[in-house]
């Protein structure tokens, strides 16, 4: 039966394939266009950026712009700080979020709905609104001007996402295997770690990426909490190029491109695991 159908399908398939590539290509072009604009701008001199005969590509590429930002600001330091903040937040958010999501998905308890509601409600104020309160909490804990403070804030602001997404993922996975594991003598924690989490890998990886990116991009809280230059994350640090009398577009964009690269690399590394984690889950399922 499959073979009789094969011929007409394949023509349709070719068209669909072409259409698919066409759409994907368009999406990629549109998505990359701002980066293309940023990149070419970063290579131009200010005179050329604002010149009345605009150019698409720089007449003379000033690669020095990309080098100069490293001497104009401690970019390496900023980047390291961003990594510490984003990495730390991801770890804390997961350590707190996974057990909560697990409890919500696998146990029944009083206040379950209330807790879910609380998690959502906690997100309903923009960090901009909470700045003064956050600063006071940090003062009380002695965490102003510290990366640790930012790690906790980012972890807290990502709890809602972590818990809700993971709860959904866990609920989508049948509890039978864990029950079997429990019969084999595993306790709950073991069965969660050994049975549930590997199967839930795609959801967990997605959540990880989300938290990491959110924390990597956080700006307002870091701005108000960190006063020492060498503790600033990249987002706040590159503000140096935003002066009183001028905005240094070429430096701002050059620095921003550096800021995107690590996230994309990280994503590409993790995406591989996402697929393999999925495959192993599929086999077991």
């Amino acid at each position: 039966m499959n073979q009789t159908l094969k011929k007409p399908v394949s023509i349709q398939k070719v068209i669909l394939r072409l259409l698919l590539y066409f759409v994907v290509l368009d999406v990629c072009i549109i998505t990359l266009y701002p980066y293309f604009a940023m990149f070419t701008t970063a290579l131009k001199s200010r005179v050329e950026i604002f010149s009345s005969n605009g150019t698409i590509l720089p007449v003379t590429a000033l690669w020095s712009n990309f080098i100069e930002i490293w001497s104009r600001a401690p970019m390496g330091r900023y980047m390291l700080n961003s990594f510490l903040i984003a990495g730390g937040s991801t770890i804390i958010a997961m350590l707190c979020g996974i057990p909560a999501a697990y409890a919500l998905a696998r146990m029944k308890f009083k206040g379950q709905t209330a807790f879910l509601g609380f998690v959502i409600v906690s997100q309903m104020f923009a960090p901009v609104v909470l700045l003064i309160g956050i600063y006071q909490v940090m003062q009380a804990l002695g965490l102003t001007d510290s990366i640790v403070g930012l790690i906790f804030i980012n972890a807290a602001f990502n709890q809602a996402f972590t818990i809700w997404l993971l709860r959904g993922t866990f609920m989508g996975i049948s509890a039978e295997m864990e029950q079997a594991a429990t019969i084999d003598g595993c306790n709950r924690l073991q069965s969660m770690l050994k049975v549930l989490l590997p199967v839930a890998a795609p959801g967990i990886v997605t959540t990880l990426i989300f938290i990491f990116i959110n924390a990597w991009n956080e700006y307002t809280v870091a701005l108000c909490l960190i006063s020492t230059d060498t503790l600033k994350p990249l987002t706040v640090g590159i503000n140096t190029f935003n002066g009183y009398n001028m905005i240094e577009w070429q430096y701002l964009f050059a620095a921003s491109i550096f800021a995107v690269i690590p996230v994309v690399i990280l994503f590409m590394c993790i995406e591989k695991n996402l697929v393999s984690g999925l495959a192993s889950g599929g086999v077991k399922g």
């Binding site: 604002f50 306790n187 230059d229």
Partner: protein, 446 residues
């Protein structure tokens, strides 16, 4: 079984705590490894009654505005020199960009964590809440005597000076000599001439914007000042009462809006900031614009960076701002300040702060500070040095002496500033200037 589980759970939580602890140490290490200077002490607000020295040293923390590319490095060097010269003092300067400084300062104040010294443009709000010390308490007599009295007057509330000027900038009209010549117009000195010049330039080349206007949230109050002051109007009368809806003011804003509506200006004055304008002017797309004294330096830097041949550079000059009705031309001055927060300082600390200002206003160091980003000095000695070292600054040193300033000493200034910007933008959208200014006046003056 359950016990084991509880134990394990406790372990997970302990792990989380360890992770936090680890992070904590990492943070501290960064602090120490990051710079040669010790990390800033975030003074606990309530304990500020006693001096909070780290070791035997007196801590002074400063929040300073970032004027440009060189500010941060300048303050870092200053901090090192100062701390080396004063062994009993530990100075920490935090440089914050202009975009964010209000957010940072208000957050700190909300947390009762005021810096000892703040470098910013406004001071009236802090003074009104009783947060500031009188300037003469923390500035030595010699240093105080150096400051231009006219500048000090800008920071007087109830007969007391609450802040001292760190630098100033003045505004003038810049024009593109070649465009004006090609269009066959003289440099305008009155509003009628300005309008005629705009018309001629537009007729000469419709792709050039004759006149630049910035009515954005960024600095729309400056536009208000340029037109109102040069039409004989003002924010307040001689007694300091708000006169926002005076006839002269209404006429001035109507004139400015008229220029926009006639198509003589940049396309979107409500969203195009002074940065856009100076870049348009530098690219030869804008014929005339009112701008700060830093524009020549800015344009020269751009050309130097791009190795632009002389032939492709714009040929520009500056002159006084056009006026109306025979009023004398008024240059708008912008002045920033140092102020000292009343954190319950000990006598020793006050002495340390005096040392700080003596160090800062040291003539050589001070003129270096001013020249660094192309600003104008607020001390007479500084003025002489600057005029000598950079001849292009000399006319500006004179201009700044005769500038008019915003009424920043008045408590309502923040509302007035946002209010006039809102009036301008409403007028751009077609609102009636008189009605808008009337309602602003009644809102401000009660």
């Amino acid at each position: 079984m359950k016990k084991a589980l509880a134990l394990l759970l406790a372990l997970v939580m302990a792990l989380a705590l360890v992770a936090c602890g680890g992070g904590n140490n990492a943070g501290k290490n960064n602090n120490q490894g990051g710079s040669a200077t010790p990390p800033p002490q975030t003074d606990e607000p309530d304990k500020n009654d006693e001096p909070a020295p780290s070791g035997d040293k007196i801590d002074i923390n400063v929040i300073a505005a970032e004027y440009g590319q060189n500010t941060k490095q300048w303050w870092a060097d200053f901090q090192n020199e100062f701390n080396a010269a004063n062994e009993n003092i530990n100075l920490v300067v935090e440089v914050v960009s202009w975009n964010d400084i209000y957010t940072v300062v208000n957050t700190r104040l909300g947390g009762n964590a005021a810096p000892d010294i703040l470098n910013i443009d406004v001071f009236a709000d802090y003074q009104a809440d009783g947060l500031l010390l009188p300037a003469q308490d923390y500035v030595s007599e010699e240093t105080y005597a150096k400051l231009y009295p006219a500048f000090l007057d800008q920071s007087v509330v109830d007969g007391t000076v609450w802040a001292i000027p760190d630098l100033a900038s003045a505004r003038a009209m810049y024009y593109n000599v070649d465009i004006l010549e090609a269009a066959g117009v003289e440099v305008p000195t009155t509003w009628d001439e300005l309008k005629a010049a705009c018309e001629a330039i537009k007729a000469y080349d419709s792709s050039i914007y004759p006149w630049g206007i910035d009515m954005t949230t960024d600095e729309g109050q400056a536009a208000f000042a340029y037109y109102v002051w040069n039409n004989g109007g003002d924010f307040t009368d001689a007694d300091g009462n708000w006169t926002l809806n005076s006839d002269a003011n209404v006429e001035a804003i109507e004139y400015a809006i008229g220029l926009v509506n006639d198509g003589y200006t940049n396309s979107d004055p409500a969203n195009e900031t002074r940065y856009n304008l100076q870049d348009l002017f530098g690219a030869g797309k804008l014929a005339m614009v009112i701008g700060p004294n830093s524009i020549p330096t800015y344009i020269a830097d751009n050309y130097a960076k791009a190795n632009t041949p002389e032939a492709e550079q714009i040929n520009f000059a500056f002159t006084s701002i056009p006026t109306n009705g025979g009023n004398p031309s008024v240059s708008a001055g912008v002045m920033d300040r140092f102020m000292c927060f009343d954190n319950g300082h000990s006598d020793e600390k006050i002495e340390a702060i005096k040392t700080f200002f003596d160090f800062f206003y040291d003539d050589a160091r001070y003129s270096e500070w001013v020249l660094m980003e192309g600003f104008l000095p607020a001390t007479s000695a500084g003025g002489e040095i600057v005029a000598k070292e950079d001849p292009s600054m000399a006319p500006w040193v004179d201009i700044v002496g005769s500038c008019k300033f915003y009424p920043t000493a008045k408590a309502e200034w923040a509302d007035v500033k946002q209010g006039v910007i809102d009036v301008e933008q409403q007028a751009l959208l077609g609102g009636d200037v008189r009605e808008l200014l009337d309602s602003l006046q009644s809102r401000i003056a009660g």
